[in-house]
């Protein structure tokens, strides 16, 4: 396995052979150095010593001062919702009882790899960030929650390398679309299944062991640790983000699709990102994992900015963006996305079971050219009436995210699918989301031959 990784070159190869995308490259679009996540050797695991050498584990200031810097920097959560990190930290600190902090590394979006890469490559940065979050909130217990066995191995070894004063437990879960949703995280840590619960209460009010609980994405925690080490760079740290970019080639030939893990400043346009991937000729993109839906004509000028994307009816979500090559059909892409969501529905909420199936069947009929003339109207109706009806956001991703955005971004293309089978859709029936999977870049050990779990499948 180590033979396939070339430390320091920024090129990583995954062991996964059964996805259309055979390898995920790593390349930053900003100059590396302090205050960045993708260091000079993103394909090698950082040791405790190497992390300390770049300023880690060194902050001795008051937690309240660090919180102030996080607030001043305007750091937003990187799990998907983009909520201000400082507001969430303060709410947990001010809750009723001794808080609990959770580093959430369970990345359910098939097109995102950044969280698993971060845990595999820079576990100390995440653990340092978790310790800062505990200090700020007054938590007495921490958890790292994930499903990737490789990441779990790296985190466990990092904890053994440098024991922390804060007791930290690693909780492994099964890899599903909803397992990383914050109430599912809490339910699993409390001993239940990793399935969402109805809100309220939200975890910041009542979570693990009924205590106020911070469930924070691992990239958010890593950026908190970067801000602690380099407060002078806090604005830059808050204004950059990890992204997983991929390209749907429109064919199922192995290796035709390509993927890139990158770090960019907010404000970068989709056109610039697509060019990095050789996807400048795309007809559109699937945004935010499956939460932002499809963007169509005019997409290259869209800038990565939460407000601007919201105005355009889309979202950055967890930072996964999938470009659609000219040979790919957006209807087929929507069909595949909803097929995946329907399969991943936790089947707890009746409205989600019925709603996702109805949207899937309608998109399937559209792709097959057998949809009734009222299909767009039905999709439109569901895109407006189903969001916020389930206990979690999966139904929203299918209804507003995918179906609603398809109608908005490609209205004439949708109409052209009425009554005539689309040859592109026919050649690519839905894959249950298999095609959407981007492989996690392989991360080698700094010390060759000490892979934590060389026998495990690196999904």
């Amino acid at each position: 396995m180590t033979a396939s990784a070339r430390p320091g070159t920024g090129t990583a190869t995954s062991m996964i052979e059964d996805t259309a995308t055979t390898a995920t490259r790593i390349r930053s679009l900003i100059p590396g150095g302090p205050g960045t996540l993708l260091g000079p050797a993103p394909d090698v695991t950082e040791s405790a010593e190497a992390y300390a050498d770049v300023g880690g584990y060194r902050y001795t200031g008051a937690p309240a001062d660090l919180l102030e810097r996080i607030a001043d920097a305007g750091l937003l959560g990187r799990g998907g919702a983009g909520f201000p990190a400082a507001v969430k930290l303060a709410a947990v600190r001010d809750g009723d009882g001794v808080p609990v902090v959770v580093a959430n590394g369970e990345e359910g979006e098939p097109g995102s790899v950044k969280d698993r890469w971060l845990l595999r490559a820079r576990p100390h940065l995440v653990l340092d960030g978790l310790a800062h979050a505990a200090a700020i909130t007054g938590a007495a217990h921490g958890y790292v929650y994930l499903s990737d066995p490789y990441a779990a191995g790296h985190v466990r070894r990092a904890l053994a390398e440098r024991p922390t004063p804060l007791p930290i437990e690693v909780i492994e879960t099964g890899h599903t679309y909803v397992a990383g949703e914050e109430t599912a995280v809490v339910r699993r840590i409390n001993g239940g299944p990793a399935l969402p619960t109805a809100k309220p209460p939200r975890p910041f009010e009542r979570g693990v062991a009924d205590r106020p609980t911070l469930v924070s994405n691992v990239e958010t925690l890593a950026r908190i640790a970067l801000i602690a080490a380099r407060p002078d760079l806090r604005h830059d740290i808050a204004r950059t983000t990890l992204l997983t970019l991929s390209r749907d080639s429109g064919t199922d030939l192995p290796g035709d699709d390509s993927a890139l893990l990158t770090e960019v400043p907010y404000g970068t346009t989709l056109g610039t990102l697509a060019a990095e991937l050789g996807a400048a000729d795309s007809s559109g993109a699937l945004m935010g994992g499956l939460f932002g839906g499809l963007v169509g004509p005019g997409w290259p000028s869209l800038a990565l900015d939460h407000a601007a994307l919201a105005d355009a009816g889309t979202a950055l979500g967890c930072g996964a963006i999938r470009f659609l090559a000219p040979a790919a059909c957006p209807v087929a892409a929507a069909d595949d996305a909803v097929d995946h969501l329907t399969a991943e529905s936790a089947r707890q909420c009746g409205v989600c079971v019925s709603g996702t199936a109805a949207i899937r069947d309608t998109l399937r009929a559209l792709a097959a050219g057998t949809a009734g003339i009222d299909a767009p109207e039905r999709l439109e109706h569901w895109s407006k009436t189903l969001p916020r009806r389930g206990a979690c956001g999966l139904l929203d991703a299918a209804a507003a995210g995918t179906a609603g955005s398809l109608l908005r971004a490609f209205p004439s293309l949708v109409r052209s699918h009425l009554g005539a089978p689309c040859p592109v859709c026919a050649s690519r029936p839905p894959s249950g989301g298999h095609r959407l999977v981007v492989p996690v870049p392989h991360v080698a050990d700094a010390v060759p031959g000490t892979e934590p779990f060389p026998h495990l499948c690196p999904r």
Partner: protein, 63 residues
Amino acid sequence: MKLFLDSTRCQGYGLCQEHAPDLLELDEWGYASVVAVDVPPEEEDAARACVESCPNSALRLEN
């Protein structure tokens, strides 16, 4: 007073809606959705009745 529906419990019997047609709607599959989370004062009795009517305890009121 706020009315909340736990959609993991709603089985779509529709009993609730008869008691509070202005607070809840039923969709094409029979599942309930809350149209008025903030219950107006004159609807508070109806809200209590609909909460009690649900055989699955899917509805909840909070002050």
